[in-house]
């Protein structure tokens, strides 16, 4: 049987109010951004809908990106809003093959926020930026009345130079190309969910927040021509990132379900709560599509970087079913893996 799916259309935004799902990174977010916001700003750079905007300035290839952070709670096992705000923006640059040059940060602070809390987040930002060797060169600070924000929000802006060896282009993706994942999925989203303390579940789990540039650098070193596409699968998870890829292309992606790495705690929590780990946010992973002939070398290169030992080739690009991500299991069963619908875990980053 063949699968028929209508070609990608710009989603129309007909919702009458903003709901949490519009910020969850799934279909509602896409509708909001592509259906309401982007049409007003229409330009070719924006309409590529990449993680970072690629600009050419006097012949130099520059990437810029901005990201807002509203995570609750502010501190969680393995990280905090400050560290996340730095790593998140750096990673948006990294998956655009851009080596970061500088960051800027805007802080929105709630009246009554303990100064010590603010200071520890500033320190977390400084440590994360220093680790990546990127200066924070400016920003803005605003304060709102008590009750009008949840402690603090952070917005960061990043700029980087695109690696001259990079040839990222989803249009070059061919059936047979492999999907590379850098490590176990879902740790960040489930850590935040458990850190809220609303569930009586305890697990030995920490957020995976980290910069992914070292892995990207290894790929650029090993197989720059075979590196076709990269994403950091944050809100909406791996499933949403891959769906965004196939919706824009003329091919599908098959994931081998048993190969997808995740911690037992993530798997257990997802089983218990009825969540799909492929929809859960990551803050220190990336997925890449690499040419079939470069796949083994790419995998070895990522695994050779400390922290990349858990990298796996989780799937492949297929001609059919087009514009679909499917999961294939070890006994021949298949399922569609769709984008995130709704809002299973609000305010995870």
């Amino acid at each position: 049987m063949t699968v028929v799916r209508a070609a990608r259309k710009t989603p129309r935004f007909a919702d009458t109010q903003i709901e949490m799902a519009h910020g969850a990174g799934g279909t509602a977010s896409r509708r909001l951004v592509e259906g309401l916001i982007a049409p007003y700003f229409a330009n070719p750079v924006l309409q590529a809908f990449t993680d970072a905007a690629g600009l050419s300035v006097d012949g130099a290839r520059i990437a810029t990106t901005a990201d807002g952070f509203v995570v609750k709670p502010l501190r969680f096992p393995g990280g905090s809003i400050g560290e996340l705000a730095v790593n998140g923006t750096l990673n948006d640059l990294a998956v655009s093959a851009a080596k970061p040059v500088a960051l800027m940060a805007t802080l929105i602070l709630e009246e009554g926020l303990p100064a010590s809390t603010l200071e520890s987040e500033i320190e977390a930002m400084a440590i994360a930026a220093r680790r990546a060797g990127v200066p924070i060169v400016g920003g803005d600070t605003k304060v709102v009345e008590h009750g009008k924000a949840d402690g603090m929000y952070v917005s960061t802006f990043g700029i980087g130079t695109v690696d001259p060896r990079a040839t990222l282009d989803p249009a070059s993706i061919r059936p047979g190309d492999k999907v590379l994942l850098s490590g176990p999925i879902g740790a960040h989203g489930i850590t935040i969910l458990l850190a809220r303390g609303e569930l009586d579940i305890q697990a030995d789990l920490v957020s995976d927040t980290r910069p992914v540039w070292p892995f990207v650098a290894a790929l650029l070193e090993t197989c720059p021509a075979g590196l076709r596409w990269m994403r950091d699968p944050t809100r909406g998870g791996v499933a949403t990132s891959l769906n965004e890829l196939v919706h824009a292309g003329d091919y599908g992606v098959a994931l081998f379900e048993e190969r997808i790495p995740m911690h037992d705690a993530v798997r257990g929590a997802c089983e218990l709560l009825g969540l799909d780990p492929l929809h859960i946010a990551n803050e220190g992973q990336f997925i890449a599509v690499v040419a079939e002939e470069d796949a083994d070398a790419a995998l070895a290169a990522v695994r050779a970087v400390p922290g990349g030992e858990g990298a796996v080739l989780i799937g492949e690009v297929r001609a059919e079913p087009r514009r679909r991500v499917i999961g294939v299991n070890g006994y021949g069963g298949t399922r569609v893996i769709d984008m995130l619908v709704g809002d299973p875990l609000p305010r995870i980053c």
Partner: protein
């Protein structure tokens, strides 16, 4: 992961699949209803349709709590939530079920205090923490969730809480199965029995199905191997010309059920004379109301609720899908007007709903809307 991995072992599953292929009679058509929405979800989630012979047709049953909840009851719950002095709590599944004026999620975005909980005890905790508010728990579900609601009400009584109530929409599975068996368009050969419900009720309540209707019932677990083994057990019964209640899910389901849970239900609930089920209409003695002695915790007695009956939207064929007469994509609205983001009917909402499962997971759909 223990109790999961061994039931998803590809080699063992492939063995059972081969056994099914050997056992099945190619000249025969089999129609097997999985009663429980959890099974429906698992069948699609694990791609079991792909590995079963074509002449075994799986028919999705009515065992999805939000799916069988009529729109009027959603409206009643939202009427309670609209009061300034009320915090309405409900399971996550309920948040996107449309009432006539929108979903709980939409009402929440407009300012109503509606909170998702994972257990009715969470609702009790919210009541304890908010003494100036009334906290109402929108209770749904079959015998699986009814005992925890019952115990929560008993706990609230023991704590002397005066700001907590339950809007009971609990239903019982056996009358719905009987209604399907008595339905003139019934064409089902056997049932995969609901594993979780039976943990509470035990297997005896299904004996009339084998005895009076001569249909096999195999109570099944939810992992791929459980469901496939249950189907194999059904084939063996059908070929032997037998009709018995069998328990495939012995590791969880005791034949006699869970007597303490049944006692808690009996202490708190009584059968309603009749209750409306979406798609199936009014079914007598099929739902649970809170006993008059516990009226202080019964939202239906505390609040004035509209109690208006609302028919399904024009074109929606939820009822036919719920009874297994239509497959989800055969509904006129499937994938077009009705999709998981904008569900028209509740079957498109819950992960246990046949339409949502089909839309989300079925690769071999003839057409799926964009």
């Amino acid at each position: 992961m223990k109790y999961v991995d061994e039931f998803r072992d590809p080699e063992v599953i492939a063995g059972v699949v081969r056994e099914i292929a050997r056992t099945v009679d190619p000249a025969r058509q089999y129609r097997v209803m999985e009663v429980c929405g959890g099974h429906t979800h698992s069948i699609y989630r694990h791609g079991l349709r792909d590995v079963l012979p074509e002449n075994i047709e799986l028919v999705h049953g009515p065992g999805c709590p939000v799916c069988v909840l009529p729109t009027g009851r959603v409206d009643d719950g939202l009427a309670i939530a609209s009061r300034d002095d009320v915090i309405l709590t409900c399971f996550g599944d309920m948040m996107r079920v449309p009432g006539t004026k929108g979903t709980p999620l939409e009402l929440k975005a407009r300012g109503a205090d509606i909170r998702m909980v994972y257990s009715p005890l969470d609702a009790l905790r919210i009541a304890d923490q908010n003494p100036n508010k009334h906290v109402c728990f929108f209770a749904i579900g079959f015998e699986t969730t009814a005992p925890s609601t019952a115990l929560t009400i008993l706990r609230a009584q023991a704590l002397g809480l005066t700001n907590f109530s339950v809007f009971s929409n609990h239903v019982t599975i056996v009358p719905a199965m009987r209604a399907i068996l008595d339905s003139p368009d019934m064409r089902i050969d056997a049932f995969v029995g609901p594993g979780h419900v039976t943990t509470i009720t035990g297997c005896r309540p299904y004996e009339f199905i084998a005895r009076d209707y001569a249909k096999p019932v195999v109570v099944s677990g939810f992992e791929p191997l459980d469901i496939l083994e249950s189907i194999l057990m059904i084939l063996h019964q059908l070929h032997a010309g037998e009709a018995r209640v069998e328990n495939q899910y012995k590791r969880i389901v005791p034949w006699e059920g869970n007597p303490p849970a049944l006692r808690a239900m009996a202490a708190v609930f009584e059968l309603r004379p009749y209750f409306e089920w979406r798609g199936l209409g009014f079914i007598s003695q099929s739902a649970l109301a809170i006993k008059p002695a516990l009226a202080a915790f019964d939202a239906e007695r505390i609040f004035e609720i509209p109690g208006v009956r609302v028919t399904d939207p024009r074109g929606a064929q939820c009822g036919e899908v719920l009874k297994g007469v239509l497959k989800p994509p055969q509904c006129k609205l499937f994938g077009t007007e009705c999709n998981p983001e904008h569900p028209v009917g509740a079957l498109m909402v819950s992960s246990e709903g046949a339409c949502a499962a089909y839309y989300r997971y079925a690769v071999h759909a003839e057409t799926v809307g964009a």
